[in-house]
């Protein structure tokens, strides 16, 4: 059972839940950037939630399956067709053997997920089938002509599932650990003005344009471990939200950390979109 990639699109990678326990060796976690969307796609086709899916950046994918298989496309809503006939978004759909499945350009958002019943069965690397685009640890990038082996189907496709958790909103942050490196009022700046998503944003980080965050201390921080969602501030004062492929250590101060449940939004923000931050008031 396999998937033949006719057109890979702008950037298509295999992702699961990422690799853990290796940050001390300099290995990024990787994994699906919009985790709720990837989980939903897997549930729709009856996969375990850690099955590997394809993460598409602005669509543009064409694949043929052999034999026929159940698929689901979630995340950024892109038009889905099978041999030219429209199919649903965030629904289990059957692709007959030899038919061409096409995922077009999403009308909004950035990253769509294609789950196939049985999962993408590439060889795991260091315990994960995720591709890290920082150091390219993991399976190779999907390109035109790639043949992807599929795993054994373990469950039945489901007709209905929760399409999407909560609405988008401001990114909630916990303050710290290095807020003392910033001038008084820096948090007010961060939370008081919208920032604009910069074109250089990628799986490593969401780069933002907007008012620079003034520093209270100059110089470089001794390199320290970084977490997913860290809002790191380089010398130009413009914040970067660390996403799944972030370097495990860094030398710029982190003013706050985005709540894990809000990170899916970072996967779907487009260059030019506005984003707001708010200080998280409650702990769970």
């Amino acid at each position: 059972m396999s998937l033949h990639v006719v057109r890979a699109g702008h950037l298509t990678t295999v992702q699961d839940r990422g690799r853990s326990g290796l940050a001390h060796l300099g290995v990024a976690r990787a994994g699906a950037l919009d985790r709720p969307a990837a989980d939903l796609a897997n549930r729709l086709v009856g996969n375990e939630e850690d099955a590997a899916v394809l993460e598409l950046t602005l669509g543009g994918l064409k694949v043929r399956a052999d034999p026929g298989c159940w698929v689901a496309v979630t995340g950024a809503p892109a038009p889905v067709t099978v041999d030219g006939a429209a199919r649903g978004h965030a629904r289990a759909e059957f692709v007959p053997a030899g038919a061409m499945l096409r995922v077009g350009t999403p009308v909004r958002g950035v990253r769509s997920y294609l789950a196939v019943a049985g999962g993408i069965d590439v060889q795991p690397v260091l315990g994960s089938r995720s591709t890290d685009t920082l150091a390219w640890v993991g399976p190779p990038r999907v390109v035109d002509g790639t043949e992807l082996t599929l795993g054994e189907s373990v469950g039945q496709p489901v007709a209905h599932d929760t399409p999407r958790p909560p609405d988008a909103g401001p990114l909630r942050i916990d303050v710290g650990p290095r807020e003392d490196w910033f001038a008084a009022g820096a948090l007010d700046v961060l939370c008081g003005t919208p920032y604009t998503v910069a074109a250089e944003s990628n799986r490593i980080g969401l780069r933002l344009d907007g008012p620079p965050l003034p520093r209270a201390r100059a110089g470089e921080l001794p390199s320290e471990g970084m977490v997913l969602g860290a809002v790191q501030v380089p010398p130009d004062g413009r914040p970067v939200v660390f996403l799944a492929d972030h370097p495990p250590t860094g030398g710029y101060p982190v003013i706050g950390v985005v709540r894990p449940g809000d990170l899916w939004q970072c996967a779907q923000l487009r260059p030019g979109d506005e984003v707001r931050f708010t200080i998280r008031r409650t702990r769970h």
Partner: protein, 254 residues
């Protein structure tokens, strides 16, 4: 990575007593924790900063102390998905209860001896583009630089920059060298380099701003190996001058 240490587990460090208590720390700083034991109150020697809801950053004096704390924490089997030593801190990520972890870490004694790690010998052809610069800044001949560098014992303190890139501690502070003002756009894999009082070996071809003193053909990173990093934190490293070893240079690319 060894998570199944056979070392005895500190009973206070076990997570069976895990409970969710109201957290009393300020938004970013977990206060110095007072630990009361049968020996009486002891002030914990470590303090931590919370990093989001599920991580803790513990600051220590230097990279060797960070390595010592990280090694100790793994040996007593603390519960964290990631234990990441840095240049003067250890990050514990994937922690259910950071305040409870901080109490466990209170048992660590700063300055306690680090168990010696595995020793790896790295053969180097000392012909790097910055060897003359280093000789000048150390006020030595290039031969003396080679002898001095090869006489030191380094320890891999932490990794960063790229998978398998280890920051090697052991260069005396008076031999620190500045980075290049403008990094080179491409360095070959195996470049042996200095920056500040760190030594490092580039695992893959990459841009780099460190001062290159030589090259080696050891494979620092192989994701198909059981232990993909040749020099994980804690590994001791000695450099050998390959040109003095005759046939040892045969495998080295030019």
């Amino acid at each position: 990575m060894d998570r199944t240490s056979s070392q005895p587990v500190d009973p206070r460090g076990s997570w069976c007593s895990y409970h969710r208590e109201p957290l009393t720390y300020f938004p970013a700083l977990i206060e110095l924790v007072e630990i009361t034991r049968h020996t009486g109150p002891v002030t914990a020697p470590v303090s931590g900063r919370s990093v989001g809801a599920h991580a803790l950053l513990v600051e220590v004096d230097d990279a060797v102390a960070a390595l010592a704390l990280a090694t100790w924490a793994r040996a007593v089997d603390i519960e964290a998905v990631e234990v990441v030593p840095g240049a003067a801190s250890v990050l514990f990520d994937g922690v259910r209860d950071p305040a409870a972890l901080l109490r466990v870490l209170g048992d660590w004694t700063p300055g306690s001896a680090l168990p010696p790690g595995e020793l790896v010998e790295v053969q180097v052809v000392y012909d790097g583009a910055d060897l003359d610069f280093v000789a000048e800044s150390w006020a030595l001949t290039t031969d003396e630089v080679v002898a001095r560098h090869a006489a030191l014992e380094f320890v891999a303190a932490f990794c960063g920059f790229a998978p398998g890139f280890s920051y090697l501690s052991g260069l005396p502070d008076d031999l620190a060298v500045p980075r290049l003002d403008t990094p080179r756009s491409k360095l070959p894999a195996g470049s042996v380099a200095l920056a500040g009082s760190w030594c490092g070996i580039y695992p893959t071809a990459s841009p780099g701003g460190w001062r290159i003193i030589g090259r080696t053909d050891v494979v620092l990173w192989d994701q198909d190996r059981a232990q993909p990093a040749l020099l994980p934190p804690g590994t001791r490293v000695r450099f050998r001058d390959a040109s003095s070893l005759g046939s040892a240079t045969q495998g080295l690319a030019t």
